[in-house]
Amino acid sequence: MWVIVLLFGVSLITFVIFYLLPSSNPALLRAGHQPTAALIKAIDHEYGLDKPWYNQYLDYMKALVLHFNFGYSFEYQTPVRTMIFNRLPATISLALGAAVIWLVSGIIIGTISAVRPRSRFDRASMGLALVAISAPPYWLGLLTLFLFSTSVGKFPIFPGAGSYVPLTQNPVHWFTSLILPWLVLAASFAAIYARLLRGNLMEVMSEDYIRTARAKGVPERRVIVRHGIRSAITPLVSAAGVDIGVLLGGVILVETVFTIPGIGQLAYQSILQGDLPMIQGTVLLGAFFIVIMNLIVDIGYAFIDPRVRYT
């Protein structure tokens, strides 16, 4: 229930913000080169833009709930739903692929660093993590393109900007075209997750039950994986839920640098054009994914953390 209330609240706030703040008149986008007062009036009436804002909002929500209709983009002259669904696969491909990379690498690096604190590996990996966290994705994206892309790179290895194709069209090309974007997007997340896991795992490994497990003769590998990581990973799962949810709502910078036709690019262009229906659609989509991912995380806790399961 709270999920519905939350989405309703987000939609209301977005609508009010863009209604009250300076934004383009959707009718003007529709009217083209001859936005006469009469034409604007006719378009306003045709699309209900002459109604009070709360009536427009109710109409919007009614269409959304009853017909899953997100409205019509006056900039693209296309239904918002069509645009969003056309672009969703690219964003999902990017976000989930990157999530796999940052989770796997973050967990591995964080674990090794935690069990071998102050080792060379620990110092090097944590130093690199700081660099990765500090590097803005936009800059990192340009850097990797100028270094490694086949189009403009000094060491042409991977396909560059604009090379994305849908998975259904060419799976191999899809995979190779996303390697650089995945790495760029995953870099800072992997660094954050590695540092987070390192801290948590070091704390967990000093707990009494870990000492007990060792005293009982449980192999160290099993102690780390079954008892240590399982407890230390819970905060990462929480963070991953939110992060993946946010990214599914649009990865603006990475999509822009690598010319990936996803939701982030769409949202960015819509904001620049003052395309309210599209902004509303992308914001709602983002909120939806955040809510859903949090729900999945809550359920996932029960499987990951024994303390949650037994309480």
């Binding site: 300076p22 934004s23 383009s24 008149n25 003007l28 986008l29 529709r30 009217a31 083209g32 080169h33 001859q34 936005p35 006469t36 007062a37 034409l39 604007i40 006719a42 378009i43 045709e46 900039e75 693209y76 002259q77 296309t78 340009l142 393109l145 100028f146 189009s151 403009v152 560059g160 900007a161 604009g162 822009t256 640098v257 010319t259 036709p261 690019q265 262009q269 904001i271 620049l272 054009q273 003052g274």
Partner: protein
């Protein structure tokens, strides 16, 4: 009306303050035109016919598929010239219209009020109408539908209203313009109520409204609130959109802002079209690129031509025009200007001395640096840009010579004198803050900040709001009731080589309308209005130049706005491309006449 690129050309107030990240660093060491020839990149290699050209869009590309809607530079370069023919057109560096679908320039009679135009015969449409030929009725219908509100044309009202029977404003039902007569399939007669200079010299007949549209095919798509003819368009030029032969353009051939693929039109015959060499077999436009990547990829790649951005980012431009890539660039005037609009209906801007003070204090060189320095244009001293008729008559580069307009670095002392003349004893403004609306993205936002800082030296306090470019236009600067005092990030480009298109829409009182108001300064000087209305009817080119030059001079004297830059267009291509640019289109790339080279 849209805001996706900063390229100049046509009447593009909308695009001039946009979102391209050109950067703020100066390129003072690089002079204008410092690259190659003004019409084509230098190359001693052989012409390769065929191949695929690729162009990367960073700002959405074309506005529409409908010829009746086309108005902006990218529409002209990316789709109009490659895919459609008009009654008249321009050669690559030509400044006068030449016959395209017509056999010759119009035969003018009845004191300039009747134009008789003969069409070439045997010009076929693309599939699915390949068996049909272009007739005068198709031109008549094309011009009539430009008055339909559903087509949303941007200039028919400005250039065709004096054709007998033409409606004064957009209409919902197709008008029957009696002044367009078609006595036979290859003859079109245009009758006007008074002589119209831009029709008699054919300039206004080279606009996309004269792209033939067959009524028997298109009428059904023109019904309704918005025409859908563009989605079913038939073509007369050397190229057509991939898949259009089915009668409906598929998403694989064109998806707004993302992709457009042009392939050869099997109906086009080179022998009938001396203007379009059409070397490439295919032209592919890909959208949503980051400008840095697009520019770099174009310069280092192959078969590529620059896309919908006025200039590459400063670092790439600087490196390019001074280094080994110099021969890949063409930097040439775009025939447009940028100006600070001062709303003459809002105090104290209704006081000419205050406006002169503002003009005097503006450091135009500093504003130019916010866009990239001298490479990006020449400091403007009046409105008509270099190369246009009337430019010399308005004073040329030096301008009319008014003291508030002569120092490109600004003159605070002089500005304070004007403020004193306006009644401000200290020479500083002391009244309420002025609403100022500017773009929120560089380079335009940087320009706006510079303007704000320069006005502050005269004591002006601004209610300074930065919003997206579309909002600057649609909600503020083009809406008189928004009561915006200063719009610092506006500009204007020519429609053709006639200065009416530079001055009349921006300063004639008849163009003040509640929305979409291009006369942002709301200049409504009866004497100037009468001068402009009279100049519109002059048919002698030399006299027109004198008349519009004089009007430019008087507009500058009135300080209704502060013109500060005559823009340059920066075009470039890959090493294996011989790039041509089209002067009529503000020296934007001419993909129809560019070609690949070998060796």
């Amino acid at each position: 009306m849209r805001s996706t690129s900063e390229r100049m050309g046509m009447r593009r107030l909308w695009r001039l303050g946009l979102t391209v990240v050109v950067g703020v660093a100066s390129l003072a060491i690089v002079g204008c035109g410092s690259s190659s020839s003004s019409s084509g990149t230098t190359s001693s290699s052989k012409i390769v016919n065929g191949g695929t050209a690729t162009i990367l869009w960073t700002a959405g590309g074309i506005d529409s598929l409908d010829p009746g809607y086309w108005y902006y530079q990218d529409d002209y370069s990316d789709i109009m010239e490659p895919t459609q023919r008009q009654l008249y057109s321009f050669t690559e560096q030509g400044t006068y219209p030449v016959p395209d679908l017509a056999t010759s320039l119009p035969v003018i009679s009845d004191g300039g009020k009747t134009l008789t135009i003969h069409l070439k015969s045997g010009i076929h449409y693309s599939p699915p109408l390949q068996s049909k030929t272009v007739t005068s009725s198709d031109i008549k219908y094309a011009m009539e539908r430009c008055f339909l509100a559903s087509v949303a044309n941007g200039y028919a009202e400005a250039y065709y209203p004096k054709i007998v029977g033409a409606p004064p404003a957009p209409v919902n039902k197709l008008p029957n313009i009696t002044g367009l007569e078609t006595p036979n399939p290859t003859t079109l007669i245009i009758k006007t109520s008074v002589p119209v200079g831009v029709l008699d010299d054919s300039n206004a007949l080279a606009l996309p409204c004269t792209t033939p549209v067959p009524e028997y095919y298109a009428a059904k798509y023109d019904k309704g609130a918005t025409s859908t003819y563009g989605e079913h368009e038939v073509f007369t030029g050397p190229y057509m959109i991939q898949g259009a032969g089915s009668g409906t353009i598929p998403a694989s051939g064109y998806t707004s802002g993302r992709i457009m693929i042009l392939v050869r039109n099997p109906s086009w015959q080179r022998s009938t079209d001396p203007l379009r060499a059409a070397h490439f077999n295919e032209i592919v436009f890909k959208g949503e690129y980051d400008i840095t990547i697009a520019a770099r990829q174009t310069l280092t790649g192959s078969n590529m031509i620059s896309g919908d951005y006025a200039a590459p980012p400063t670092s790439i431009l600087q490196q390019g025009v001074t280094g080994s890539e110099k021969s890949q660039f063409i930097i040439a005037p775009s025939d447009g200007n940028r100006y600070i609009s001062l709303n003459t209906t809002i105090p104290p801007l209704n006081n000419i001395d205050v406006r002169k003070a503002i003009a005097a204090v503006i450091d135009k060189n500093a504003l130019r640096l916010t866009r990239g320095g001298p490479t990006l244009g020449t400091v403007a001293t009046h409105y008509i840009p270099p190369g246009m008729p009337g430019f010399d008559q308005a004073g040329g580069d030096a301008g009319p010579g008014y003291n508030f307009d002569t120092n490109p670095n600004g003159d605070l002392t002089l500005a304070e004198q004007y403020m004193k003349m306006a009644g401000y004893k200290t020479g500083k403004y002391t009244g309420p803050a002025l609403l100022t609306i500017a773009d929120n993205e560089p380079p335009a936002s940087n320009t706006a900040l510079a303007v704000q800082s320069e006005l502050a030296t005269l004591g002006f306090k601004l209610i300074f709001r930065e919003v997206p470019h579309a909002t600057v236009l649609s909600k503020f600067c083009l809406v008189p009731k928004a009561k915006v005092a200063i719009c610092p990030t506006l500009g204007w480009g020519k429609d053709f080589y006639d200065s009416q298109s530079m001055l009349d829409p921006v300063f004639n009182g008849k163009n003040i309308v509640p929305v979409g108001n291009t006369n942002t300064s709301q200049v409504n000087n009866p004497q100037l209005n009468a001068q402009m209305n009279a100049a519109e009817e002059i048919t002698n080119p030399a006299q027109r130049a004198i008349a519009w030059g004089k009007i430019d001079d008087e507009l500058t004297a009135g300080a209704y706005a502060v013109p500060w830059l005559w823009d340059n267009e920066v075009s470039f291509a890959s090493k294996n491309v011989h790039l041509q640019v089209w002067a009529f289109n503000g020296n934007a790339p001419d993909v129809t006449n560019s070609y690949l080279t070998k060796g």
